[in-house]
Amino acid sequence: MKTFDLAVSTVREFNQALHDEKNIVTEKEWAATNPKGMHNIAVGLDADIAVDIHGHAGYFCAGMNKTAAVTIHGNAGQGVAENMMSGVVRVKGDASQAAGATAHGGLLVIEGNAGARCGISMKGVDIVVKGSIGHMSCFMGQSGSLVVCGDAGEALGDSLYEVHIYVKGTVKSLGADCIEKEMREEHIAELTGLLEKAGFDEDPSAFKRYGSARQLYTFKVDNASAY
């Protein structure tokens, strides 16, 4: 285990160490202490390593992550794991807005709540939130799955493409073109797998599924009020 004290080292030094090939082939376990809300910690990783951040992280922590497993032992600021490609990012506390934005793959687990726009424009990532999520979540979500064990805020899944959304609690309102859909066996199976991967003990049958009505996929005069 190699530890960087961010009260002494800079984020630049930490990130550079995590990017340098000679480091990551020999050292698989990394940690940072005293992150104190600093931005852009552990971004652009592309290695089979584990990184533990002990404290609260600022914006874009673990942004564009590939293959690495990043755990934030605290809260995460805006855009955690944005555009992640693969790997696992776990937030032990709460996540601010735009968690997992545009992420293409991998698994983002938030053990607390997530703010507004969770999973905005997501493109293949799986996001599992133990708590609740804020308004405009999954806006223009393209693919992947969003699981919420708590409640969802206003305008969930607005202008949604093909993301599978599962919410256990209440949904304040659905966005344009997002509808409740039948929970079939394959969805129960998918949800069970996601909850398991996240390590959350929840009953999949207590969830409802939401998805795209696919009415806005092509421009139609009759939909003018929705554009």
């Binding site: 990130n15 990017h19 652009g44 874009f60 942004g63 555009n83 545009t102 223009m140 996929y217």
Partner: protein, 440 residues
């Protein structure tokens, strides 16, 4: 046309035939007009400016014997590896999706021959364009289609796109006809849908957030490559100041004449300010911050010839970018396809339905048969020739003004033909010392 025969028929200037045709089209379809190309209305533009060549009070340079430098270094503010372009004319971002793979390859080939850069677009980086572009700028757009860290690290520069001159405040569009399997796969979308790109970035909002975002991109790329910010010209003075503050190495300002692949006509024609009006605002902002020439300024929107290039540089730009002109050089709107343009309700020289994907020239299409018509090698050579002409023309004008570097051109070398161009470009009306709006 009857009114040409019968001079007693009077066409309304307000309700001309084109206006009436649009009213009928709207009444029939109930949806706004979406098209490609840039603004078609007449706007104050670089033709309204003239150079004052050297004579008694200035000393010209010999046309062939004395050098006039055209190379420019872009992005040396923070990046470890700035880009050097041999001519200050770059190829603007145009997406694979909007353009065929052959067209993208041709742009890369042409630009590489003359040592300048090309730019990806909304839809990601294709191996063809990376392979053929010696200097490739990777766009970081609100949609983040195809955005991935591997391509980010393959790029020679990264351009964070906040807006485009054709549609400042609007997102991209790609209509279903062009969402083929490959385009759908690159963008992670269902095939054949009408795709609407976001107009705002999903994970940051104001300029303070943008500063952090730029730092993130720098961290991911280990501070190697320059980061550009592209803005559509509107409140350019303020936007440029904020872009500098956010940490840009290079700022791209795209005026309202700028081309687009698909946007509502009402947007193209009614939002933004002309390119000529934007440059002095941008330069003033940079100068006030002590950043002129330190943060480079690239200007685009309606650039057609070496005179336009030289005028942009004289007003203070470090380089320009071209979109529409590059497509025309490849063969877009070529009269040789006139019959086919007519068959789809247009004509050579008028074609702007890039969104339909039926381009007979094989450029703004994803149709494999049409795409095949464009030979990327031959088209690339045409583009290289055209870029050379732009460079030679700009050099000719610079030498005539006594400048041994295009960037030594200055506003003092220019006068304006009209009061409005004098006010916008902030140079005197020809034959006077009058710069409208300036205090003495």
């Amino acid at each position: 046309m009857s009114n040409e025969k019968n001079i007693s028929l009077k066409e309304s200037a307000t309700f001309d035939r084109s206006t009436m045709a649009e009213i009928r089209r709207a009444a029939e379809t109930g949806i706004y007009d979406i098209r490609g190309f840039g603004a078609k209305r007449k706007l104050p533009h670089f033709d309204d400016l003239l150079f004052l060549g050297a004579s008694m009070s200035r000393y010209p340079l010999e046309g062939y014997r004395e050098t006039c430098n055209t190379s420019v270094v872009l992005g040396d503010r923070f990046a470890k590896k700035p880009i050097t372009i041999e001519t200050p004319v770059t190829i603007a971002g145009m997406s694979f999706g909007a353009l065929s793979a052959n067209a993208k390859e041709a742009l890369g080939r042409g630009a590489s021959i003359v040592g300048t850069s090309t730019t990806t677009g909304d839809g990601g980086m294709t191996p063809e364009e990376r392979g053929q572009s010696s200097k490739l700028v990777y766009q970081y757009l609100p949609s983040r289609y195809g955005m991935n860290p591997d391509d980010l690290r393959k790029a020679d520069a990264i351009e964070v796109v906040l807006g485009q001159g054709a549609k400042p405040g609007g997102g991209g569009m790609l209509l279903g006809q062009k969402i083929t399997d490959r385009v759908a796969q690159m963008r992670n979308l269902p095939k054949g849908i009408d795709q609407r790109s976001a107009c705002r970035h999903p994970d940051w909002t104001g300029p303070d957030d943008l500063a952090i975002k730029i730092q993130e991109i720098r961290e991911i790329t280990d501070w190697q490559v320059p980061i550009y910010i592209k803005i559509g010209a509107t409140r350019t003075y303020y936007d440029v100041k904020l872009a500098v503050k956010a940490g840009a190495d290079v700022i791209v300002v795209d005026g309202m004449q700028g081309g687009t692949a698909a946007t509502q006509d009402v947007f193209i024609e009614h939002v933004g300010i002309p390119t000529m009006a934007a440059i002095p605002q941008a330069v003033q902002a940079l100068q006030e911050m002590g950043m002129h020439r330190k943060v480079q300024l690239i200007v685009s929107g309606g650039i057609r010839n070496g005179a336009d290039v030289a005028k942009c540089m004289a007003l203070g730009a470090d380089a320009v970018a071209i979109g529409t002109a590059a497509l025309v050089a490849l063969g877009c709107n070529d009269p040789k396809w006139d019959d086919e343009y007519k068959a789809i309700g247009s004509a050579a020289g008028y074609y702007d339905d890039y969104q339909d994907g039926k381009d007979p020239a094989g450029i703004s299409t994803q149709d494999p048969e049409l795409s095949k018509r464009l030979d990327p090698v031959a088209a690339g050579r045409r583009l290289a020739n055209y870029l050379r002409v732009l460079t030679l023309e700009a050099q000719t004008l610079a030498r005539a003004c006594g400048k041994n570097d295009l960037r030594n051109l200055e506003p003092e070398d220019l006068v304006a033909l009209t009061v409005e161009s004098a006010a916008m470009a902030r140079v005197p009306l020809a034959g006077t010392t009058w710069v409208p709006g300036q205090k003495y």
